[in-house]
Symmetry: C2
Subunit: 363 residues, 2 copies
């Protein structure tokens, strides 16, 4: 099989994760050797230190730092927990095993490390991300899988037992899961010239059945609602390594809009991270103006929807005219529509008419 | 590739679906030809007509019938809707396209067939299942995909564009989705001697990483919570066509217990259907007695959990001594535990110790 590898970030990232973890350990040993109480410093994640960066088009952390020191009795517990989390993550990464946030919480007990509840252990993992400047998936702590992909992309696995094996992502016409093996694979070959991300499983299946991947040379990604971070990182890689434009199709409501926005510009919770967002990705629909133009069947916006629209209106990620126009239109028509609403014009209308029109419009 | 096909039900079921739909149509035309108001008769799904059958080990419908006639003005709308649903399903099945319940609701508008809301269209599809004696997946109305499978089973697709193509279900180490293509595939070859169904994605990934499929010759199925009906039908086929015993692992709480029970004995909602349950499947854990014996980290049962346990205690599906014992133990210890709780003994304890012990115990 002819192999045409794209510039990959997989190997470097794993190396970087291990190196960062090890240099954290060395730093702590050094401090102990010198007779100091060990400490770590990291950017503060408090609300006052989270700013929107219009250049990076995402939230970032400011200059404020917090220091966690073994000298301070109130810091002693979280400091120890952080060092344990680093050691555990190093164990995972070097043994090439993956884990989940839930697993981390229970695993701590195997080491007689106690967390009051899962929230506490989740926070420590976020601290570790902040200290290392890496996403937890880089040190092998993954979310539960639920999103999927289908399309002409040949990948080469790097996970144990599968090294060097390849798979073309059209092999299974229901789609394959986006989990640790897929996200750590190298991209070998593709004929696709775009990525289409889809919020809902029903439409993902429809797109495969209607050969959207062939007709539009597209790799199809099912986000299954708000996309897990591993999926957002995968979409970013499709965009940056393969140079493929990304189009996002969601339900026509504030929640669908925000699914698209988080793929594009990330979340405030991940202000300490890069490499998760795809700033050039486009939200291609269902827009509020599509609801009007295509005369779609609708449901009325409820109070929670409207409250959400007011929040989004003030959100710095939503300042562009297109987003503001759509928010205003939602508020004016007071209606929302699902992706499936296009079936009122027949099952294939969305593929035959709507999709090509919107791909053209948001090119 | 050597092909060893197992007794398959795929082709017959599709033929049966089309034939049943067509004979329904012929029946209606016949009545019209004879100058009668057309009508259909089906078993009543009212609560009084749902009984538990200890022999079949599932809920079934009794002898009461309902008749829907075009003569009765109150029946006219649901009768018309039913006939439309049958025509639409025939269109889907003969064109080999799939749809979802949501899509059906919107598609009706393309035919100027109105449903007040989705509940109404869902009910009509259930009526159609009852009339035909088939599950809606048989006439190509599928749930959203979210469950997955991994293990040494070679399947042969029957969906358009993939006819005759095969895939081994170890090809993608994150697992492949259980969707229309997988559930309509033929089983060609396997070395597995059991099926292990798992409630949660984190554990499914752990099992793959720890080579449970090899060490225990198992096909691993991720139910992702309460398993969709297509997944239950797939598990049943693994059991009946390949003769593989099925072991189910869930969280140790009333909800996990019921995930296992629905795979085994089905739900009251599907009393009009067969072919969804696997009566010989075993719930292998996490039992309440496992929580005690393995000294697992726990959370207290809350009021909703306890209320649910009282419901299950009276449920005819739960009459066997093992289930009653576990319900009583839950009530006594007033605690629940997740599958991940075994990580307190290290990440691989669940695979090295717990899994083999429980497979032996529930053999």
């Amino acid at each position: 099989m002819e192999k045409k590898k794209f510039k990959s970030t997989v190997i470097e990232r794993r190396k970087e994760a291990l190196e960062n973890l090890e240099s954290l350990g060395i730093k702590i040993y050094d401090q102990l050797d010198k007779g100091f109480f060990p400490s770590v410093e990291m950017p503060s994640r408090s609300l006052e230190n989270i700013h929107y960066d219009p250049l990076l088009r995402q939230f970032i952390l400011g200059d404020r730092k917090v220091r966690r020191s073994a000298r301070n009795i109130r810091h002693l517990k979280p400091f120890t927990q952080l060092v344990w989390a680093a050691a555990f993550s190093h164990e995972l990464t070097s043994q090439r095993k993956t884990s989940t946030l839930r697993d981390v919480y229970y695993s701590a007990q195997a080491y007689e490390m106690t967390f009051t509840d899962q929230q506490e252990s989740n926070n420590i993992i976020t601290d570790l991300e902040t200290v290392l400047g890496l996403s937890r998936e880089d040190f092998n702590i993954f979310p539960e899988e639920r999103s999927a992909v289908f399309g002409d992309l040949t990948i080469e696995y790097t996970v144990p037992g599968y090294e060097g094996r390849t798979l073309n992502l059209t092999s299974h016409p229901d789609g394959v899961l986006i989990g640790p093996a897929l996200t750590s694979s190298e991209f070998v070959k593709t004929t696709a010239d775009k990525v289409i991300a889809i919020e809902k499983g029903g439409l993902f299946t429809r797109f495969i059945e209607e050969n959207v991947h062939k007709k539009f040379n597209a790799i199809l990604v099912l986000t299954a609602g708000q996309s897990p971070r591993a999926t957002r990182h995968f979409i970013r890689r499709l965009n940056s390594e393969l140079n493929l434009p990304v189009y996002i199709f969601t339900d026509g409501d504030p929640w669908g809009m925000h699914i698209a926005m988080v793929i594009i510009s990330g979340s405030a919770n991940a202000a300490h991270l890069r490499e998760l967002n795809t700033p050039d990705a486009k939200w291609s629909g269902v827009w509020a103006t599509d609801i009007v133009n295509y005369k779609l069947p609708t449901d009325p916006l409820d109070d929670v929807d409207i409250k959400r629209l007011y929040e989004l209106q003030r959100d710095p990620r939503y300042k562009d005219p297109l987003w503001q126009r759509e928010i205003k239109t939602f508020m004016k028509i007071k209606k929302k529509a699902e992706q499936e609403a296009f079936s009122r014009y027949g099952l294939t209308y969305i593929v035959d008419e709507y999709l090509p029109a919107k791909l053209e419009e948001t090119k």
